[in-house]
Every structure is written in structure tokens, then in C-alpha cells.
Symmetry: C2
Subunit: 110 residues, 2 copies
DNA sequence: TTAATATATTGCAATATTACGATAAATATT
DNA sequence: AATATTTATCGTAATATTGCAATATATTAA
């Protein structure tokens, strides 16, 4: 089937998994790390930075943009990509709340 | 192709994406949340708790176990699953470090 | 206008993921 | 031993993901 049955889960569960999913590819992790590292707009040198073909990078950028984690502004013939810090913070809060479930836990049971 | 080119990325990038990937399905998120919530072993009532078929749950549990996020102890005819808190903490640290890349960032550029 | 440059989209092949019925394996109960 | 119970594995169908060549689109430069 390959089709996730989202209707049986809560909005939060689906939201967490969607964010996790988009971070679930090393190319997208690398893109985000690079955008943070240069701390400014990157105008398309991601194809050189990462070793994948231009259409592949473009596709990964599209997925990151769809989730709102990055934004792209057209600057002449190239596109200026950067982190959407506001949305990143929201994502981070949702993910952190989930990751921190262990702080309420008393002890291992088995 | 469907095949990720892991060899072009760093170990950390691959590790982050693997953790994110296993969290990238709402059923696995729900399983983890439930294991945290009951704060004790759960012996197979996950199938009732979540609405998916038994083999499907079993498969998701296998993936979580492979990444080390949960452990399962056989107790008679059932299996006692619970969070592997030690590994969860390690995972949380790796993911948090990545998610916190924004705190070094000065300002949005575009 | 024409050519050059940069990015997006399309189409497709290969592989991965999701889900579940059927069945196996392992232990408990009678 | 025979049966019941619980979980794992196998097999398979449907869908998703990844990657890239070819091509389209859009802007800039000549």
C-alpha cells in the first residue's frame, strides 16, 4: 500500500511525523545545515555544495519549502534560499516537546 | 530510484536523518507517546490502542527497536515493550543539537 | 532579438514504505 | 499431548520516494 493512514492519528501526531519525515533525508539535513552555516542567503550553490544533480536538489528544496522550513526569493536569474526562522522555531517547539517526553518518565521497566 | 545516496553525506547527517525517518510515521509517534504515557511495560495492547493490524504494529515496533529507541522483553507468551531511555537521550541530544542551529543565527536575510 | 544562465517541471526507472492476510513460532493452559 | 494466546515473519499489492535526463521557464547580457 505505501499509504499512511493519517485519519487514525491525532493532528499533533501527524504534524510531528510530517516534520520528522522532511528531516528524514541526509540531503535535506545537509541543505539546512548549510543554510544555517552561511547565515545568509544562498543563491543556488547548493548543487555544488552537495553532490546531487540540480533537479534532485530542486526537489528537496521544494519539500523543505512546502513544510515552511525555508523560503526562496527570486533575485534575478537565481533564487535566494534561506531558513524561515519563525517556522523553524515553531517546528522546534513541537519536536522538542515530543523529544522531552522522557523527562517525565520515572524509570525503565524492563 | 528510491535509493538514498548516503555515501555523499557525513555520518552525522546520515544519523540525524535516520532518527528523523523513524519518527516520520504517525503510528511510530503514537507508539512512543503511549509507551511514555503508561510509563511501564505494554504487552501488546498497542494493537488495540492504535487502530492498525497486528502485523503492521509489529513491523513498526521492529523499526523502533532497530534504531534502539525501544526494547522488548519476552514475558511468557507476550512481549513487554518499553522506551530505551538511554538511547532516547542520545537521540534527543543529536536531534536537539541540529534543531538548535537557529540559536546561532543572527537574522533573516530575505 | 538572441544567447546565456539559473531554476523548475516532467517523465520515468529503481527502490522503499505501508498495510495486511496467511502462517509460523513460542509459550501457557487444559 | 492438544488447544489457546500472543507475537513475528512471509508474501504481496498499492503507493511513495529518490534520482536524474530532458525539457520548460524566466531573467539577464550581448
Amino acid at each position: 500500500m505505501g499509504l499512511t493512514k493519517t485519519e487514525m492519528f491525532t493532528d499533533l501526531q501527524n504534524e510531528i511525523s510530517l516534520f520528522a519525515k522532511v528531516l528524514g533525508h541526509p540531503a535535506r539535513v545537509a541543505i539546512l545545515q548549510h543554510l544555517f552555516k552561511i547565515d545568509t542567503c544562498v543563491c543556488g550553490d547548493l548543487v555544488n555544495e552537495i553532490g546531487l544533480a540540480q533537479p534532485t536538489i530542486s526537489q528537496h528544496l521544494k519539500e523543505l519549502k512546502q513544510l515552511g522550513l525555508i523560503k526562496g526569493n527570486i533575485e534575478g536569474t537565481s533564487v535566494c534560499y534561506c531558513i524561515n526562522t519563525e517556522n523553524w522555531t515553531k517546528m522546534k517547539e513541537i519536536m522538542s516537546q515530543f523529544l522531552n517526553l522522557d523527562i517525565l518518565k520515572k524509570e525503565d521497566c524492563c
